[in-house]
């Protein structure tokens, strides 16, 4: 079973704390136009750091 992080764009307020805490390079990107983050599944190791650090509870792990 493999997991990946998934963002709920309704909840994300674009604070970027997840990007600043994710140990994987280029795994989370910021879209300046929508001011939301985007998670690149293939680069995510499902460590859950972003899940626990997000102040809006906008990220969850889901099965790949």
């Amino acid at each position: 079973m493999y997991f990946k992080a998934k963002v709920d764009k309704e909840k994300c307020n674009g604070c970027k704390i997840c990007i600043l805490s994710c140990p994987e390079p280029n795994a989370i990107k910021f879209d300046p136009s929508s001011k939301k983050i985007e998670i690149y599944e293939s680069r995510c190791k499902a460590c859950k750091i972003c899940v626990v650090i997000c102040p809006k509870q906008a990220i969850e792990l889901e099965e790949k």
Binding site: A46, C47, V51, V52
Partner: protein, 283 residues
């Protein structure tokens, strides 16, 4: 500080992978990026084999996005978990024998100053606690005594992670590890204090819990090493694998350590202070 070094050879244009192209076109080459810009440029680090939730990997990523002059930076690494990350780093880096990193960096820095007297070349050592404070301790401290203009960064996961969890001099007293079942018998080495009295012009003690501050301190340490003298950055990078904790708890471990042995501490020598004042770079 130019992008020329990274320009793609036209003949290879079609053959290079997307990741490489992104790095050339959108990498942090001009050194004007900070941690706050992460997510908007292609990082100098690619997919690496370090464990899920590894705080050493996190700090490596933060350091690489905080370099003041990436195209003219040479990293000297050493044996340990971090060496598995350097293969995925997009700038010059040298792997040195376990413990030799500050001696190798000294040679690199001196030769670069002779070969390129008009250019600013930053030499940055990045190594584990075992490499820096145990086997490489004499090389580390003597490079400070000699006033070598290099930055030494320690990834302190408080044990030998790569070889399965032996205690290091930086392990706190009493800590039990996979291969140190009786617990550490003597206190953690205070390399921060030693750095202050051994010739470092800047020394800082911090953790992965505040990556914006980490990035700013790394930038400052490299700029000071360039013009003033040796600098030292010691980062607490908890290792979830050896601490036997879920990876998502690792940042909390770093944060909690700020209440005791890893309270933020920054030393700036008089010479470094006046340099920062004169260059308007106080922060």
């Amino acid at each position: 500080m130019s992008k020329r070094i990274t320009e793609m050879c036209p003949a290879l244009n079609d053959a290079m992978p997307t990741e490489y192209r992104e790095l050339v076109e959108n990498g942090p080459w001009l050194g004007d990026k900070t941690v706050k810009d992460l997510g908007t440029f292609k990082e100098l680090l690619e997919e690496h084999p370090l464990c899920a939730g590894c705080n050493l990997a996190l700090s490596l990523k933060i350091i690489l996005s905080s370099l003041p002059n990436p195209a003219d930076t040479i990293i000297v690494g050493s044996t340990g978990c971090s060496s598995l990350g350097f293969m995925q780093v997009g700038i010059h880096n040298i792997h040195s024998l376990f413990g030799n990193q500050n001696a190798v960096a000294t040679g690199v820095k001196r030769v670069l100053s002779m070969r390129f007297p008009d250019k600013k070349k930053d030499v940055v050592v990045m190594a584990g606690d075992g490499a820096t404070a145990d086997i490489g301790l004499d090389m580390t401290i003597h490079s400070w005594f000699r006033g070598e203009k290099i930055t030494t960064i320690m990834f302190d996961n408080e044990l030998y992670a790569n070889t399965g969890g032996q205690e290091s001099g930086m392990t706190p007293a009493g800590r039990v590890a996979y291969m140190a079942p009786l617990g550490k018998k003597f206190p953690k080495i205070n390399l921060f204090e030693i750095a202050k009295t051994s010739g470092c012009h800047y020394a800082v003690l911090l953790t992965t819990a505040n990556t914006v501050r980490l990035g700013a301190c790394v930038k400052k340490a490299i700029l000071l090493a360039r013009d003033v003298g040796p600098t030292y950055v010691q980062i607490h990078t908890p290792c979830p694998t050896n601490l036997k904790i879920p990876p998502e708890e690792s940042i909390k471990v770093a944060k909690d350590s700020e209440k005791e042995r890893y309270a933020f501490n920054e030393y700036v020598s008089e010479a470094a202070k006046s340099f920062l004042e004169n260059t308007g770079n106080k922060k």
